[in-house]
C-alpha cells in the first residue's frame, strides 16, 4: 500500500463509493461474510422510558471502515453498544456472519468481535505488555497458559499500534495518548473480524489523534478487518471512513460516502452548525462558521 505513512483516505473513500452501492446498503450487504448488520434495532437503558435508538438498521461492509457521527447525545455510542451485544435490544437483532450475536457464547463472540469502550480504566501498575495479553482472554481456556499464537498476536498488535517501545512500561506512567495506543493494541490482540471503536480519538492531543487514525487505516489496508468507529469529529470521520452514518436524536439522518454525507445542508441539519464545505482530494474539508439555533431549522 502506497499510503502507509500518510493517511489519505479521501481517495479510498472514492474507490469504495464506486465499488459499493448507492443508497440503502442494509440489505445488499448482508450476504457479505464479515459484515455486521443491525436490523430494526430498538435500544434503551433501564433508567429511561424512551428508547435512545428507535428502529434503526445499519450495516458495516466487510473490510471497510464505517464511521458513526453525530452530535452529543445522538445515540452513536448506544448504537455501538447494541452492535457489540453489550446492550440487549428491546427489538431487532444484530447479525454477525449469518447468526444473531445473541446466540453466540460470550467468548465465541469476543473471538469475532472486539469493542474498545470510551475511557477504559486499568490499574496503574500493569505493564503495557500484560494489558495487551488480556486481549487474548477469549482465545484462552480458563486454566490455559500463554500459547505461541498468543505471543505472536501480542507482538503483532504492539507493532500495529506502534507501541512496541512501550512494552515494559507501566500504564500509570503513560500519557493519555500512549494509554489509548496500549488499549488499541489490546483490542487488536483480540484478533477479531470486526472491530468496534467508541470515540478512540476524543481527549487525545493532535499527534495521537493522527496516530490512531493511521492505525485504523493500516488495519483496513493490511487485514480485511471490518471496522465501525464512533467519531466526534466529522472532519476526521470524513478522512478515514469508507462509509459514514450520521445520527441525530437516535435517528439515522444520512448514510453514504463522505462526499455524499458531508454537505452544508447535513451539517446544518444534524450538527446545527453553519459551515463551508470544500471538496478536496483528501475528501471534503469543513470550515465551521457559526452555531445555528436549532429552533431555526
Amino acid at each position: 500500500m502506497s499510503k502507509g505513512t500518510h493517511p489519505a483516505p479521501g481517495t479510498d473513500a472514492t474507490e469504495a463509493a464506486e465499488a459499493s452501492e448507492p443508497s440503502r446498503p442494509v440489505d445488499s450487504d448482508s450476504n457479505d461474510s464479515d459484515s455486521i448488520t443491525g436490523q430494526e434495532l430498538v435500544l434503551s437503558y433501564s433508567s429511561s422510558e424512551e428508547p435512545v435508538i428507535d428502529d434503526e438498521s445499519i450495516t458495516a461492509r466487510s473490510g471497510a471502515v464505517t464511521a458513526l457521527v453525530g452530535p452529543n447525545g445522538s445515540g452513536k455510542s448506544t448504537l455501538l453498544k447494541g452492535m457489540a451485544d453489550q446492550l440487549t435490544p428491546d427489538h431487532g437483532s444484530v447479525i454477525l456472519q449469518g447468526r444473531d450475536v445473541h446466540s453466540y457464547d460470550t467468548k465465541e463472540l469476543a473471538q469475532k468481535l472486539g469493542l474498545l469502550s470510551q475511557e477504559s480504566v486499568a490499574p496503574d501498575s500493569i505493564t503495557v505488555e500484560d494489558l495487551v495479553y488480556h486481549g487474548r482472554y477469549p482465545h484462552r481456556g480458563f486454566f490455559e497458559s500463554v500459547s505461541a499464537e498468543d505471543e505472536r498476536a501480542v507482538d503483532r498488535a504492539l507493532t500495529l499500534a506502534g507501541c512496541e517501545h512501550l512494552r515494559d512500561r507501566e500504564v500509570g506512567q503513560l500519557s493519555g495518548g500512549q494509554k489509548q495506543l496500549a488499549w488499541i493494541a489490546m483490542v487488536i490482540a483480540q484478533d477479531t473480524d470486526i472491530l468496534l471503536l467508541d470515540e478512540p480519538t476524543t481527549f487525545l492531543d493532535l499527534h495521537h489523534q493522527l496516530e490512531v487514525m493511521e492505525i485504523i487505516d493500516t488495519l483496513r489496508n493490511k487485514s480485511d478487518i471490518t471496522i465501525i468507529v464512533v467519531l466526534h469529529d466529522i472532519q476526521q470521520a470524513a478522512r478515514i471512513a469508507d462509509k459514514m452514518i450520521a445520527l441525530k436524536s437516535g435517528e439515522v439522518r444520512a448514510r453514504g460516502t463522505p462526499e455524499e454525507i458531508v454537505t452544508k445542508k447535513l451539517l446544518a441539519e444534524v450538527f446545527d452548525v453553519e459551515a463551508k464545505v470544500q471538496v478536496t482530494d483528501r475528501g471534503p474539508r469543513i470550515e465551521p462558521l457559526s452555531p445555528l439555533n436549532s429552533m431555526d431549522n
Binding site: P123, S125, I126, D130, G135, Y137, A148
Partner: protein
C-alpha cells in the same frame, strides 16, 4: 536492550513462565517468612507454662513423636492421642495448633480480602464487606443468647450465618445484574440492620462470662484453638487458596472494569459471583476457627499491592505469606503482652491496622481506587 532480552526469554516454550516473580515479590515473601518463623519461635517457646526455649524446641523436633503415625492420626483425623509428657502435651496440643490456625486464618483472610477488593474494584474492601461479619456476628449472638446448649456449634452457625447474609446482600444488590457500588451499598445496608439486632441482643445477656465469650468471638481470638480448628479450617484453606491462585487472571481482567471484561468475552456476573463465593468461603472458615478478626483482610492485600503492584498472580502469592505473618505477630502480642492474661488477637490487629491506614492516608493522594 534489556526489554528485548526479556521478550526473547519468554520464547522458551514448554517451560512455565515465571518471569512475573520479581525482586519485590521475593523480598516480600522472604521478609514475611522470616517474621513468621520468628513469631512462631516465640509462640512455641514462651507461655504461661514455663519451660526453656531449648526444651520446647526439642519437643517440636522430637522424632519419636513426629514419626509416630498415631500422633498424626490423632492430630489430623482426631483420634486418641498417645501418652505424652506434660511439656510435650502443652507444646503439641496447645502451642503448635494455635500457630497453625493463625497461619491458615491469615492466609484465608488475606486472600479473601484480595478477591473482594478486585470484585468490588475498591481498595478499601475487606472480607467482611459483603455481609459475612454481620451475618456471622448475629448467628453467634443468637446462639449465645437463645441456644446456649448449642455453643459447641458456634463455628458452624457463624459460617452459615455469614454465607446466608452474603447471599442476602447479593440478592439486594441484584437488579438485572450487579455492580461494585450496588454490592458495597447492599453490604452496608445488611450490615447496619443485622448489626443493630446483634447489639440489641447484648442487652439480653444474663451473665458477664457469656458476654465476654461473645465479645471474644466478635473481636476474633485464637485463645484455646487446638487441632480441632486446624482440621476444620485446613480443607477450606486448600480449596480457596488453590482457587484464588488459578483465578488470578480472571481477577486481573475484572480489574479492567466490567465493560472491558465483558467485551473480552468474560461472563462477568457469573465470574464475579463465583469469585465472591470463594472469598466468602475463605472468610467463613476463618470466622469459624477464630471469630471475626478485623483489619487483616483489609490491610494485607493493600500492603502487598503497594509493594508488588496490582497483578493478582503476584498479589495473591504475596498475601499467602504476609497474612500469616501479620496474624502470628499480632497473636504473639495478644498472648504475651499482658501475660498471663490474653487479649483477643483482633484487638491487636486493629491496633496495628489503624495506624497503618493513617500512614497510607498521609502518604497517598488517591486512596480507594485500584
Amino acid at each position: 536492550m534489556a526489554s528485548h532480552e526479556r521478550t526473547t526469554d519468554k520464547r522458551r516454550f514448554g517451560l512455565p513462565r515465571v518471569d512475573w516473580i520479581d525482586r519485590s515479590l521475593i523480598g516480600l515473601i522472604g521478609a514475611s517468612f522470616a517474621l513468621t518463623v520468628a513469631a512462631g519461635l516465640v509462640q512455641i517457646s514462651f507461655g504461661a507454662y514455663g519451660m526453656s526455649v531449648i526444651d520446647a524446641w526439642r519437643l517440636v523436633f522430637d522424632l519419636q513423636l513426629l514419626l509416630d503415625p498415631m500422633t498424626w492420626q490423632a492430630f489430623i483425623l482426631g483420634g486418641e492421642l498417645p501418652q505424652l509428657s506434660q511439656e510435650a502435651y502443652i507444646v503439641w496440643t496447645i502451642r503448635v495448633p494455635r500457630v497453625l490456625v493463625a497461619l491458615f486464618v491469615g492466609m484465608n483472610l488475606a486472600v479473601s480480602g484480595g478477591i473482594f477488593q478486585a470484585v468490588t474494584r475498591n481498595e478499601l474492601a475487606s472480607p467482611y464487606i459483603l455481609g459475612v461479619s454481620s451475618g456471622a456476628g448475629l448467628a453467634i449472638m443468637l446462639t449465645v443468647v437463645f441456644f446456649t446448649g448449642l455453643a459447641p456449634l458456634i463455628p458452624v452457625f457463624a459460617s452459615v450465618g455469614g454465607i446466608v447474609s452474603f447471599l442476602l446482600v447479593y440478592t439486594i444488590a441484584w437488579k438485572g445484574g450487579t455492580s461494585p457500588v450496588r454490592l458495597v451499598l447492599a453490604g452496608v445496608i445488611v450490615g447496619t440492620v443485622l448489626g443493630s439486632v446483634q447489639q440489641g441482643l447484648f442487652f439480653m445477656l444474663e451473665d458477664i462470662d457469656t458476654a465476654l465469650s461473645a465479645m471474644a468471638w466478635m473481636t476474633g481470638s485464637l485463645t484455646g484453638t487446638d487441632w480441632e480448628q486446624v482440621r476444620m479450617i485446613l480443607p477450606w484453606t486448600v480449596v480457596s487458596v488453590g482457587l484464588a491462585l488459578v483465578t488470578s487472571r480472571q481477577l486481573n481482567v475484572l480489574l479492567l472494569g466490567e465493560k472491558t471484561a465483558s467485551s473480552l468475552g468474560m461472563p462477568v456476573e457469573r465470574i464475579r459471583f463465583g469469585l465472591s463465593v470463594v472469598a466468602v468461603v475463605a472468610a467463613a472458615a476463618s470466622v469459624a476457627a477464630a471469630g471475626l478478626i478485623g483489619f487483616v483482610g483489609l490491610i494485607v492485600p493493600h500492603m502487598v499491592r503497594n509493594i508488588v503492584g496490582s497483578d493478582y498472580k503476584r498479589l495473591t502469592l504475596g498475601c499467602l505469606f504476609v497474612g500469616p505473618a501479620l496474624i502470628l505477630v499480632a497473636d504473639t502480642g495478644a498472648r504475651l503482652l499482658m501475660s498471663p492474661n490474653q487479649v483477643p488477637v483482633g484487638i491487636i490487629t486493629g491496633l496495628i491496622g489503624g495506624p497503618y491506614f493513617l500512614y497510607l492516608m498521609r502518604k497517598k493522594h488517591n486512596m480507594g481506587e485500584i
